[in-house]
Symmetry: C2
Subunit: 655 residues, 2 copies
């Protein structure tokens, strides 16, 4: 394995321990419920059987193949828990599936069941077949598995497949690249683990080939009659490529286009390549893309990809709430891209976005019960249940109808195991380290065990984040050690305070990291106080859907209002921007949350049979309202929900 | 021809003359542009050729048949102009097409080209084949043509077809009814013209058979494998029937369901049947349906059918603006239903809705140039032009992509000739008569020539309606005559005033008709003054899309704001509900309109890279804005538009 480079790398999972608290609850549910739930569905839908059949098991019935990536994602997620779960059930199930994969792999190293069991030849439809995407997820699973177990059976499968890719693709082979990016970032993980530069080179190659004037995928589409790529064809012309980020070279792209998950994965992989290769033009492109994404195409929750039509991007500021798409997988990809950008640049702004996505767009995708999922994530729910009501049921894949209801297993089930693997890997997002600098990147009740200049250093974090903004860090070490501790100041925070061994350290509020570079002694403490006021937020005026509306946030948590907690439908509430909301501890509610309470106005209906009346004849009532964390919505009865509330209006009518 | 019954019948077209003014402009464009434009498209798309081929013309190339209804609608529209146009071109084109229809009719009387030229047997798929719908439009065209010309060639074709229907359908024949209603109202027109009660009986039969527990269409769908009726199948079960108003008997329906055009045509036909048969339960059902439609499922513009998914109805108050469907044909149907309800009940409330639809939802569907059409009609346009932007391009018929742009000829071209025929028939909507009572139902510069008790009576109407509310009526007659003149007071009007021969007549403002029953002398005048204040309207609180928004209206005209007239995108404007707008004559604008001018606030963007900022840090500017009549939108450059403006908010920030 190769040496750590001097950019801040996420720490190894084995060196972080999550302790009680917010994230521990989620991760416990992952181990106790979600992983088995996913595995059960993989079993009943024949996903494991596809491998068993290739492995020569004569007892397997008809299997439809395909969907290998779901198995790999489940393997990856499970691997992250292997060392942290006392129950051995996941381990034995994992080892059984690993054995099945080993047996199923073809001699060439190729392992994609729907191709091996189907009629297509490998690599003949890179545009639509997800072979390279599947390979990427296999590689990620293998890296996680080998890292967790020290055991290389799955890693060998992945390396053989990766070696086949190296052999197959490139200037002397197929000059193509994936129709769905993912393998790029996977190859970079494999490269980090093995140090084999062929994997880096192949990732670079895939990134550079994409979007050329006569691109490989364009050639495929134009010459293969059976490739139907509706979403790649611009209404006014032939193949467009936008859906697969194949419309121009990545270095020349300025806005994220097309399918959001594809874009996030590509950008995350490219950021890893740029870091390893010190590629300035690639870095500049990614910074441009990041700026456009986060300032013009991202929801308050951190969700991206606003359209059902293409599961992806449309135009700047086009962020409808009731039909927000915000695919859960895109949130996973956004977290990974942000983390990769931080590693590339050391800038905290990327971590702010990672935090926004984690606590909102990402967590909303999984039910509090751990076994229900959102594929698209809406910022408003009409609550209506009519089959023809406004939810565009006729979105491009009719087999996965958009829904305001959580599903046990969506028609396309990419999201459930994807959510699982990010939760599994979550502790790695808490700390990063670059030689003698330790970054605390996200705050959670946890302990880091690392080494600095060969000396063991423990850092214990105690906090009730995200409900409270007090973070206490204690350093434990054998001998006094010089190192730099960098504490992230979330951008939402005004007036942070920090003390080191009870002595105040000056902080300016635009500082993104507090750098404490000193000789540390055993028992030294750092106390960080991040005041969590309730923020009444407005959106950029060009975001049509949010004009004259406000949203509530506290700390990293975005709030929403559900009908079940309130006397009037949330869509009718009007909040005075100068009114005061209060934070209220509600251990009884939704697994324990801080709710916000305050008042709002509602317009009262006229007693008239004409629904359109002079507004001067109407009047308002004031009602108490309760807001809950956005991530916790849709865990009770089906009802209306809004994130963006109307601002109270200037009308002054008689009550 | 049979005697007029004592309910108020629309007057004959030949007895009304439109004079200069608002509607004359539209009708002139109809004769000069629209009808030829439609006929040219019917020619190039092979619609006329289908009849020519059946008539044995060997020179006709490949025709796809189908779409006969478009030809019939064009014939109907053209017939309405035959006596009023000096140019003889339409007449010769009409007579040529009539000859082709005569030659094409089969011996049985059947005449539907796509069946006769295709593989299907007649009457084997009432659910989807539009045979009865086509028959209905043929009948309507024939009634219009015979009435206009006194010539019965086309009427004979229609009667032969209608007689075949009488023979074919009923307790002793096919116990079915149309998958797309229309023939019911057409049969009633034929019955009114001919007095043949078999047509009334068949219309009644079609209405009564629909929606039975084991309905005929349900039987078709369940037994015919080739009938795919996605929209009739409820997600949770088998055939549902809602899309075709076949889910329960019409007498038991309480809300309009399914496809809006089908519903409107059915209800219009049923109202005519109820009138002729004095059917109380049918009348009660129609009144219930009307109340639900107009108080909970209708846009401010009078548009109905809010969903792209089914071109139809969803749930109460589900009236989104950017994806409002409001099919133009549904507006035509709504006008006809309203007029039929007035005739059934003599109540003016129905005419108020007819007025709302005519000046807004209906007129918006035709461009000021007369040759561009909207199929769906939106109450807001995002202006965005991205292929994946929010317009649901993947609505159920992909061949007619929803659009914010007017089209020369939509993929499904039901609307263009339908709009044409309502414009053609328009003068009949101005007056109704029941024996010695004359109703002035809509106001336009016009003259009615009628008879009362055998005495000729002329009523001349001078007005600048809809721009001004002054209406002067002059009675011309040979001998003093007793009759009742009923003048409609539009519901939007407060404090109407009326004088008869300069003497004031007391009016209470909740009076829907002013009844003036007296002996009239030649030269008597009535002056009606309907003050047209600018109304700032709010919507029912349950209409989610309009909460905290207002719309502007003046007289019967609903206004909208287009980006091209304003310094900021209309979606960003916030209007103080207490601010004053002014009516401004703009002869230069959009063919001459009254525009509204006033001021609005806009929130100014922060100079921050985070699009979500504490609202307390933002500030507003005040700008001048101009609103135009909704019907005139999308006649200039493609840009954003809104009908519903944000109310100004209570935030009081530094400017």
């Amino acid at each position: 394995m190769r040496d750590r480079v001097s950019t801040p790398a996420p720490v190894a999972l084995s060196s972080v321990e999550l302790r009680d608290g917010f994230w521990m609850d989620w991760r416990r549910r992952l181990g106790e419920t979600t992983l088995d739930h996913v595995a059960d569905h993989l079993e009943t839908s024949g996903r494991f059987d596809a491998f068993r059949r290739l492995g020569g098991n004569p007892d397997v019935g008809i299997v439809d193949g395909g969907g290998d990536a779901k198995v790999h994602k489940w393997l990856e997620a499970s691997s992250y828990l292997l060392n942290s779960m006392e129950d051995t059930t996941p381990q034995s199930r994992v080892e059984t599936v690993v054995s099945q994969l080993v047996a199923a792999q073809s001699d060439s190293g190729y392992l994609v069941t729907d191709i091996l069991l189907g009629d297509d030849e490998p690599w003949t439809n890179l545009t639509q077949d997800h072979e390279l995407y599947v390979a990427g997820h296999l590689i990620e699973a293998a890296v996680a598995h080998a890292t967790a177990t020290g055991e290389e059976r799955l890693l060998n499968v992945a390396c053989q497949f990766a070696d086949l890719l190296v052999e197959t693709f490139g200037p002397d082979g197929i000059q193509g690249y994936p129709g769905h990016p993912e393998v790029e970032l996977a190859l970079m993980r494999l490269y980090e683990l093995t140090g084999d530069s062929e994997y880096l080179d192949l990732a670079s190659y895939f990134i550079d080939e994409r979007g050329r004037e006569k691109s490989y995928l364009a050639w495929e589409v134009e010459t293969h009659e059976d490739i139907g790529v509706e979403l790649d064809v611009h209404p006014d012309g032939p193949y467009d490529g936008r859906h697969r980020q194949d419309h121009r070279p990545l270095r020349e792209q300025t806005t994220p286009e097309g399918h959001a998950v594809r874009a996030m994965y590509l950008f995350a992989g490219a950021a890893a390549v740029a870091r390893e290769t010190n590629d300035e033009s690639l870095t500049a492109a990614l910074e441009r893309l990041w700026t456009n994404t986060t300032t013009r195409r991202m929801y308050l929750t951190g969700g991206v990809g606003s359209s059902y039509h293409n599961e992806g991007f449309t135009t700047d500021f086009d962020l409808p709430n009731e039909t927000s798409y915000c695919e859960s997988c895109a949130a996973v990809g956004m977290v990974r891209w942000g983390q990769a950008m931080f590693r590339l640049t050391r800038e905290a702004t990327y971590l702010d976005v990672v935090e926004r996505v984690l606590y909102n767009a990402f967590l909303a995708s999984l039910s509090l019960s751990g076994d229900r999922f959102f594929y698209p994530n809406h910022l408003a729910c009409t609550g209506g249940d009519h089959p023809h009501a406004r939810v565009p049921e006729d979105a491009w894949h009719s087999y996965s109808p958009p829904s305001y209801r959580r599903e046990a297993w969506p028609g396309i089930a990419c999201c459930p195991p994807n959510v699982a693997r990010l939760l599994g890997e979550f502790p790695r997002y808490l700390f990063s380290q670059a030689e003698r600098t330790v970054y605390v990147t996200q705050y959670a009740e946890s302990q880091l065990k690392t080494e600095i200049d060969g000396e063991p250093v423990d850092i214990t974090v105690e906090t009730d984040y995200p409900w409270g903004g007090t973070v206490s860090l204690t350093v434990t070490l054998d001998t006094p050690t010089m190192f730099e501790l960098c504490l992230r100041i979330p951008r939402w925070c005004e007036n942070p305070r920090v003390t080191v061994d009870a002595e105040s350290v000056p902080v300016t509020s635009d500082e993104a990291f507090i750098h404490i570079d000193r000789q540390w002694h055993d028992g030294d403490t750092v106390d960080l106080h991040l005041p969590m006021g309730i923020r009444t937020l407005g959106a950029h005026p060009a975001i049509r859907a949010d004009t004259a509306r406000v949203a509530l946030a506290r700390g990293p948590i975005v709030y929403c209002i559900e009908a079940v907690d309130n006397p009037y439908p949330p869509s009718q509430l009007r909040v005075d921007t100068e009114s005061t909301f209060e934070a209220v501890e509600r251990p009884d509610l939704l697994g324990g949350v801080i709710a916000l309470t305050g008042s709002a106005a509602v317009r009262v209906a006229n007693e008239s049979d004409d629904p359109y009346q002079p507004v001067a004849g109407t009047h308002e009532e004031t009602v108490d309202v309760t807001a809950i964390p956005y991530y916790s919505w849709a865990n009770r009865e089906f009802c209306e929900m809004v994130v963006w509330l109307h601002e109270a209006t200037s009308s002054r009518f008689d009550p």
